[in-house]
């Protein structure tokens, strides 16, 4: 909220400049977001006296004035009808800059030279509506600066009041109270004396449907009111704080809100309809479901049974605490007004204003709850002001307040403040500090301070709340830096986090760059990557439709990264470690951590799968996982149908599925406008987690020489390398130490694959003879011929 520095100064008596006050508040209580100088501050506008006035020789509507501005007398051409000799008027001298960047120059007006301009209020930026020049009081002195005479300059402090203090600090009196408490000053405002007269009127009735709607409702009927423009001081004060002046009645309600923080509302009494029983007054009730209300913003809203309304015999006059009705407000025709000062249930107000999408100064305050006793203060203050500027007579008041809200006593154990803040502070200190906030402190026998908190501080209801206030009053800069006394405990390592670090490091060492992408993508991305039928978690309120689905894969964003980066580089290796999310019939939310990597090669992109596979093998081995790979049938989604496989981690004799590796489907690449093959893998942390942390045991090195033999074969196109190696191992008799593919090509003529392997023969307990190896090789080859239809290459 924006606060007037001058107003705060009047109330608090602070000696600080606006900037000093802003810094002080920021450090000690509320953050001041900006300080802005406002008001009439134009140089070169001087008070002058009209000495002589003659008709302009060449224009009927203009006159030529001689104006004494102290040191000289200026000739000025003026068109205002209300100018008269002897008046004191503001004169904009040549060179003055008026609002709107209007610069005054010496000018010829129909052959008469004019050395300045006599100004209206509007031209000076002092509020409009007034015809003619601004006639100043007799007391004004010719030659003085208008700025000094008006003494109107001020500063606006934009102070951030957080929800816990909205109930008291969103007002000038509330803020001044805070300043006074901090500065140990005295508030210049007689809050306590604002008390309603005892008498209860029978002129109208107020009914509250149930206590939960409103803790207090004060209505005041004022007859014979003079609705007119507000006095200048009131208009200016509101204008300064960004509120448009409407008429004296509405302006008073707004003024009181700025002063005390209590929104008030005024209705035109004569428009209010009688109830069925002939009585008149207001009903505070829940709206009927479907009931409509035409409000001040010109729109008609349909209400529900949760919305509190102010109604008369005919229907809704206002949506309580949110906005008044279009037709029930005070106008120039109004003769009698009904003024409302009330408390409304904050949760209901909040629900209603959220649902209707209306936010007003009133709803901002009501939804954060208000002290029901504040309604009385505000009502009395408003009546006082109205009597002064709008006359009125025959004031009738009804105050429905079945369960008055009284001061609470909050116990504060002696020593608690010291213990929480870490400073030396005695009970005596606290007994001095808290009264500055309007609290009464009494020490009881149990060494507890019983602190009576004023009702306008709704936020204080625990010892910690009081300690916070004590801390603020002392200032946190006095709290010393204290090393905590703690027991020595070991740090436990989170397995997944550790695994993530290792994988990230390993990927990085293998040339992958880490990306972080958003956790959402579009429905279109989902469809385009074959993931349209995933059971997505959808955002109820996405930033935009492109970010409506929680990602079920890291791929779509990574493809976009690839496309964009290929604009400035030719090859690419990326990885991301992050969560994917989806629902299933068993569980509302699956949130699993995935590690994904991709590669794009500059040349020979048909090789990208094997380059990536080689890196992946090395990375996994680096974290202690031996991986194997197998063909995946019917892969689906974004995977290339014939260039994709599953990744397994070896654990003893088992192979645990840990992820998938393959090329991305060309149609998917087409959608992302990527013209190169992309190889990609995904690993699932939960599965990897099962494989890491197994303590390895030493395996002795083979002390005997190996016998190396090669085998070159033709195999049918459908037979895979894995099948051959499995076939070799099956017949190994424990004497095959390793099998390596060293050559492969496709023989078009034979329509067969040609494969060549090195086979390492050896025994752990003796030197294997060459002849033994040859015999075994023969057996192996024969077996392959038989089982896999391979042919020896000669």
């Amino acid at each position: 909220m924006k606060y007037s520095y001058k107003w705060l100064q009047e109330l608090s008596g602070t000696q600080k400049t606006a900037q000093e006050l802003a810094d002080f508040l920021t450090m000690r209580t509320f953050e001041v977001e900006s300080v802005e100088e406002i008001g009439f501050d134009t140089e070169n506008v001087i008070i002058g006296e009209v000495m002589e006035l003659v008709k302009h020789p060449n224009a009927d509507r203009l006159r030529v004035a001689q104006i004494n501005v102290g040191s000289e007398t200026l000739q000025i051409v003026c068109g205002a009808p209300n100018i008269e000799v002897g008046q004191k008027v503001p004169v904009a001298m040549v060179g003055a800059k008026l609002p709107g960047n209007f610069e005054i120059k010496e000018s010829e007006i129909r052959d008469v030279t004019s050395y300045g301009m006599v100004c209206s209020q509007k031209e000076l930026g002092l509020g409009g509506g007034h015809e003619g020049i601004f006639v100043l009081p007799e007391a004004a002195v010719s030659g003085d600066f208008l700025r000094d005479f008006l003494n109107d300059s001020d500063f606006l402090l934009d102070i951030k009041v957080l929800p816990d203090r909205a109930h008291d600090a969103l007002s000038h009196v509330g803020m001044a109270r805070e300043i006074v408490a901090l500065e140990e000053g005295e508030l210049d405002y007689d809050y306590e004396s604002l008390v309603l007269p005892e008498s209860e009127s029978k002129a109208f009735t107020v009914s509250i449907q149930s206590e939960g709607l409103s803790k207090r409702y004060i209505g005041a009927l004022i007859r014979d009111i003079e609705v007119k423009a507000s006095p200048i001081w009131l208009q200016n004060r509101l204008k300064k704080l960004g509120i448009r002046s409407i008429n004296n009645v509405v302006d008073v309600t707004n003024f009181v809100m700025l002063e005390l923080g209590q929104p008030l509302h005024s209705f035109d009494w004569d428009i209010m309809a009688e109830r069925e029983d002939g009585s008149k007054g207001v009903d505070v009730r829940f709206a009927e479901a479907g009931e409509t209300a035409a409000l001040l913003d010109g729109k008609t809203y349909t209400l529900s049974g949760e919305d509190i309304v102010i109604a008369d015999g005919a229907g809704v006059l206002a949506v309580a605490g949110v906005m008044g009705g279009k037709d029930s407000g005070v106008t120039g025709e109004t003769k009698s007004i009904f003024l409302e000062g009330a408390h409304f249930d904050s949760v209901s107000i909040r629900k209603t204003r959220t649902k209707l999408g209306i936010r007003t100064d009133a709803s901002d305050r009501f939804e954060k709850d208000l002290d029901p006793n504040l309604a009385e203060k505000a009502m009395v203050r408003a009546l006082e002001l109205l009597a002064h500027i709008a006359k009125g007579s025959d004031v009738a008041i009804v105050d429905v307040y079945p369960d008055p809200f009284v001061s609470r006593v909050v116990p504060l154990p002696v020593g608690a403040a010291q213990k929480l803040l870490g400073i030396d502070i005695s009970a005596e200190d606290i007994e001095k500090i808290l009264p500055r906030l309007g609290c009464r402190v009494k020490r009881n026998e149990q060494d507890v301070l019983d602190v009576t908190v004023p009702t306008y501080r709704l936020d204080i209801d625990s010892a910690e709340d009081l300690i916070e206030e004590v801390g603020k009053m002392i200032g946190y800069d006095v709290v010393p830096v204290i090393a905590p006394k703690i027991s020595l405990t070991g740090v436990t390592q989170d397995g997944v986090r550790l695994l993530q670090r290792k994988l990230q490091d390993s990927a990085c060492a293998n040339g992958f760059t880490e990306v972080l992408n958003y956790a959402f993508y579009s429905r279109q991305d989902a469809e385009a990557t074959g993931m349209g039928d995933v059971s997505y978690l959808e955002l109820a309120n996405p930033m935009n439709p492109d970010q409506a689905l929680m990602r079920a894969s890291l791929l779509p964003h990574m493809l976009r990264n690839i496309r964009e980066n290929l604009k400035h580089q030719k090859s690419l290796q990326l990885f991301e470690s992050g969560n994917v999310y989806y629902a299933s019939e068993f569980q509302a939310v699956h949130e699993s951590q995935i590690f994904a990597g991709s590669i794009v090669l500059e040349k020979n992109d048909a090789e990208s799968f094997f380059v990536l596979k080689g890196m992946l093998e090395r990375m996994l081995h680096g974290i202690g996982i031996v991986s194997t790979y197998d063909t995946t049938e019917s892969v689906g989604q974004y995977w290339h149908p014939t260039r994709t496989g599953d990744i397994f981690g070896v654990q003893g004799h088992d192979a645990i599925h840990i992820g998938r590796i393959g090329e991305i489907h060309p149609f998917v690449l087409e959608y992302f406008q990527i013209k190169k093959r992309v190889a990609y893998f995904e690993l699932d942390y939960a599965s990897l987690q099962k494989l890491v942390g197994v303590v390895k045991s030493f395996v002795p090195m083979n002390r005997y020489p190996e016998v190396l033999r090669d085998i070159s074969i033709f195999v049918p196109a459908t037979v895979r390398v894995k099948d051959i190696i499995d076939g070799i191992n099956k017949k190994s008799q424990g004497l095959v130490l390793g099998v390596e593919l060293f050559d492969q090509y496709f023989d078009e003529e034979k329509n067969m694959k040609s494969l060549a392997f090195h086979i390492h023969f050896g025994a752990m307990d003796r030197t294997l003879e060459g002849t033994e190896a040859d015999a075994l090789l023969e057996k192996i080859t024969a077996s392959l011929e038989k089982t896999l239809k391979v042919a020896r290459r000669v």
Binding site: Y476, I482, T513, V515, N541
Partner: protein, 346 residues
Amino acid sequence: MNELKKHVVDIQNEAFALVAKAKTETDLNEIEIRFLGRKSEFNALLKGLKDLSSEERQAVGPLVNAIKQEMIRSFAEARQKMKLASVDWEKDRLDVTAPGVKLPEGHLHILTQVQREIEDIFTSMGFDIASGPEIETEFYNFDALNTPAHHPARDMQDTFYIKSKDGQENLSLRSQTSAVQVRYMEQHTPPFRIIAPGRVFRNEATDTTHEHTFFQFEALMVGEDINVGNLKYVAQEFFSRFFKTEVKIRLRPSYFPFVEPGFEFDISCLSCGGEKGCSACRHNGWLELGGAGMVNQNVFVNAGYERNRYQGLAWGFGLERLAMMKYDIPDIRLFHSGDTRFLSQF
């Protein structure tokens, strides 16, 4: 005797002169055979030593042996020289200024690096690392943190909600890592100290300093008498280590429902050290970093602890802001840009 000595020296001189003139390895071999071969005069001399009297042998022997060693060395040197001269080194010359073979270069994301740095500082101070889900229940994200439904403080941050299916609990993307607090407390008994780093989400428009997806850090320390002074200490210790310079902490009153008292905390400006007058701190000497406070007793109660049994400090801040400050990064959106021209700088 002297004659013999002179003769040996003469042989040596002759051999050295010939070695100096030798052009090829063959020449050298011939000279070596002539002077040191079995049939050489020198060899004969060596053999003749045994016929001398022991006095004579002692007088001449060492000299003869030394000269033999010297000649052997001179032949080896000459050979080495010849070998070196036989290669055309210029032909083999490399331009060492030409580029190395381009191998793919990997980079950890700068936020990963910063996160690790933070984790390492805290774990060195004995903090455990805790984590929780990114899709969070209303309970842990709000209610448990003393922000029940329709509490105005819920407006302080705009939250993303998951479309709920019938009868399902309301889920949201966690708007703060504080959501981890009560999850952790439910499983552990004080005293403890943890940090909870992680991704959080806010439904707000993005610009150079705002992102809807960002990383936060939560530090939580609970014991029987943890106080505001301790909060200052832990924060000061951490930031001084992180920025590798002595940093001061300033607490300003603020409000977050899950702490009481609550603070905004500032650190002394890294450029001017808190002295006024530098553009980095907008001339006020301090940099605003995050929120902090003493754990609200209601949070403890929500976690199942006895009211007023424990005191705790909690503070959190955005990782991006820290990285931006430390590495002069001008736009928060770069972190999620996936642009390798940015990522490969770190």
